[in-house]
């Protein structure tokens, strides 16, 4: 008997006992669909996390942060200069493995971001930024370093920086607060050309970044737009950080609250006595970001940067590197854990499905002892009967697997409808293939014992069986 005949017989057997077969398949269907849906959820989670990682600048971005002078150099502490703009030029000149160097000079104005007092860092007429605001003096390369995309206008350029002009590029959240958000006004306001006050100095807005948000925030916003606003009762309240949002959404909020001004403008207008009471110029940068040319060469690039900086810092190691590797590893670990636990549960449910198949196959061969006797009497060998029963079990499992894959699409769709703000589950071809192969494997495993039992039947006794 060839395989094709065995498959045809398998299908006929299944068709002859439709209800029983469907019930048997249900175990496999549930197992496969839970396996696929689980891996789709994990994949969605992974995508969300990676999206955030890219938004913050990717793995290639390394922060050079100030650090206390090490204990063996304590006596040199007052000679430590910290990171200055000289480092930027030195790195650009002498570290070819570093693709991009972006200095950042931040300013503390007493009220940090999140301050909600009566005075505000940035105002426009009667409106003021009440939520967080990141005022950063930097170079034009910041747009590439932090993966910003312009919605309107332009980034300030070297000329703006050279002349320390009062120009700024703002994030979407700043625009929303100073000019009105699209939800409020009904249309998207272009702030380019307008003037705003930053720390009581007039700045011309030359560009605006687009709104950064994760897929899930975008969906949330669309849902809110489609639903009538529920009037808030009671006193006005904020819900604190990240209420109801994904754990990575702070990245987007942080980027949206950006106000970029030229580095020189920052230094001259706010740092070197122009505005402050402290008249001693402070050339220190808050942080320095570098981007390595090739992530594969992260180690040598950092070594190169260190060599250059040790020179400019007069051999005082008052800096350290912070990479995104930890974050990346954190993502990998979280994904692996989720996959492990979900996979374990799905594997158990598939196993239970397999036990169901074995059970029904054992019942089925008991019903068909006489048939098996007849087949053996007219010339079926051990392997003929073995293959017939095994193929039947595999056919049930594979049909269950296919139905399970179809069901998993429905399950994933259902999950998206029930909880639209979560990361979109992504069904990958890999997970489908694994689920399918696993169900076929379960079919083989479940059919093995019944098939051996059937193939070993003695034809004489089987023919006598009533």
């Amino acid at each position: 008997m060839n395989l094709w005949n065995a498959i045809v017989i398998g299908f006929k057997e299944i068709w002859a006992h439709k209800f029983r077969s469907v019930l048997t398949m249900l175990g496999i269907i549930l197992g496969v669909s839970s396996l696929v849906a689980m891996s789709a959820l994990v994949k969605g989670m992974e995508n969300g996390m990676k999206e955030a990682l890219v938004a913050i600048g990717g793995l290639e971005k390394v922060e050079i942060e100030a650090q206390d002078v090490p204990i063996h150099q304590k006596h040199l502490e007052d000679q430590a200069v910290g990171s200055t703009v000289h480092d930027v030029y030195a790195l650009q000149r002498s570290a070819p493995l570093i693709k991009l160097v972006t200095p950042e000079m931040r300013m503390s104005f007493g009220r940090g971001w999140g301050g909600g007092g009566s005075s505000s860092l940035a105002t426009k007429g009667t409106r003021a930024v009440r939520e967080r605001l990141n005022l950063v003096g930097t170079l034009p390369s910041a747009i590439e370093m932090n993966q910003h995309v312009l919605e309107y206008g332009r980034m300030f350029n070297e000329v703006d920086d050279e002349n320390a002009w009062n120009v700024c590029v703002i994030g979407a959240a700043i625009r929303d607060q100073l000019f009105g958000s699209p939800e409020e006004t009904g249309y998207d306001i272009n702030p380019v050309g307008q003037t705003i006050n930053i720390n009581n100095q007039p700045f011309r807005v030359v560009g605006m970044f687009q709104r950064y948000e994760s897929e899930q925030e975008k969906k949330l916003r669309e849902i809110e737009r489609n639903q009538p606003k529920v009037a808030q009762t009671g006193p006005e309240r904020r819900r604190g950080w990240g209420g109801g949002r994904g754990q990575n959404s702070w990245v987007y909020g942080w980027k949206n609250a950006t106000v970029y001004i030229p580095l020189n403008t920052m230094w001259i207008k706010f740092r070197s006595g122009g505005a402050g009471t402290n008249s001693v110029p402070d050339p220190r940068l808050s942080t320095l970001f570098v981007k390595v040319a090739d992530i594969e060469l992260l180690e040598p690039a950092l070594q190169q940067a260190k060599n250059v900086l040790m020179h400019t810092h007069k051999g005082i190691e008052d800096f350290s590197f912070r990479t995104q590797e930890n974050w990346s590893e954190g993502i990998t670990t979280a994904i692996r854990n989720a996959r492990m636990s979900g996979g374990f549960i799905a594997a158990i449910s598939l196993l239970v499905g397999g036990i169901g198949i074995m059970n029904i196959m054992l019942a089925s061969i008991t019903e068909r002892i006489r048939e098996i006797g007849i087949r053996k009497a007219i010339g079926a060998t051990f392997s003929d009967v073995f293959i017939q029963i095994l193929v039947e079990s595999i056919v049930i499992a594979i049909l269950g697997g296919i139905a399970g894959i179809a069901t998993s699409y429905a399950v994933v769709h259902l999950l998206t409808v029930i909880s639209p703000t979560e990361n979109t589950p992504v069904i990958t071809l890999n997970s489908l293939a694994i689920a399918f192969l696993f169900s076929a494997f379960v079919g083989v495993l479940a059919g093995l014992f019944p098939a051996i039992k059937a193939a070993r039947l003695d034809p004489i006794q089987a023919l006598r069986y009533e």
Partner: protein, 253 residues
């Protein structure tokens, strides 16, 4: 050389320490083209003899040759192939597969001998013509009468052109008219030169065959052979001796 040669065959079962000799030192020859019956009351060992002759069972002692092949120590796989190619079975309870239609039932032995679908269909239809059921090929066994079902079973037994056909109480489950018709069919097949062995407990049925072997307590009690006795005991003797000259059964169609 005879088609089937049994020499000193014994089959011994052990039931709770007790030794049961289902067959005790049986020697028997069946020639090509013979029409014989094996008779005996139930428990006499005739079924055991048929199982051993039909390669469904192996003897405890003794040797068997079928068509020149020694089968007493063949593997189960070889026995399955011999059953498939050289032996046809007809049973008391027809033993058709209820889920298959008539044509598929007749095709079944050829499925196990690896014959292509078209060839299978052609030969199965020829076999059905032989038993007069070619217009019932699409029916299910349950839609047929007992006699018709037995004819289908006979067609299935013949479809691989076996060297010998064993019929175990083929009329035992039929009324006497239908049974008579089935026996007539066997007689007709025998006249065409096929080797047929009827197994029965009924002397009346056994009377239709020229040669009769009576089994009692696992031994051959009586071997009525017109050839040996020189008797023209049966009206089929002429046909039987005529067909003995042909060494192979005629192919179907």
């Amino acid at each position: 050389m005879a088609l089937v040669e049994l020499r000193n065959v014994s089959k011994i079962y052990h039931l709770g320490g007790e030794e049961i000799r289902a067959l005790d030192d049986v020697s028997l020859d069946i020639d090509t083209g013979e029409f014989i019956s094996i008779i005996g009351p139930s428990g006499s060992g005739k079924s055991t003899l048929m199982h051993i002759l039909g390669c469904l069972d192996s003897p405890t002692r003794g040797t068997i040759q079928l068509d020149g092949t020694r089968i007493h120590n063949a593997s189960t796989r070889e026995l399955a192939a011999i059953r498939n190619q050289k032996i046809g079975f007809v049973f008391q309870f027809f033993n058709l597969l209820p889920k298959l239609n008539v044509l598929q039932n007749v095709e079944l032995p050829m499925v196990y001998s690896g014959i292509s679908g078209r060839e299978r269909r052609r030969r199965a239809m020829d076999a059905l013509k032989l038993v007069g059921l070619e217009n019932r090929s699409k029916h299910r066994p349950m839609q047929l009468s007992g006699g018709q079902q037995q004819r289908v079973a006979i067609a299935r037994a013949l479809v691989n052109s076996p060297r010998i056909v064993f019929a175990d109480e083929p009329t035992g489950n039929l009324d006497s008219n239908t049974g008579e018709a089935i026996l007539t069919l066997f007689r007709q097949l025998s006249q065409e030169g096929r080797t047929i062995a009827l197994v029965t407990h009924d002397p009346e049925i056994a009377a239709v065959t020229p040669r009769r072997i009576e089994i009692r307590d696992g031994k051959i009690a009586k071997n009525v052979d017109p050839k040996l006795a020189g008797l023209a005991a049966s009206r089929f003797t002429d046909h039987a001796s005529h067909s003995r000259n042909t060494t192979t059964p005629p192919p179907l169609g």
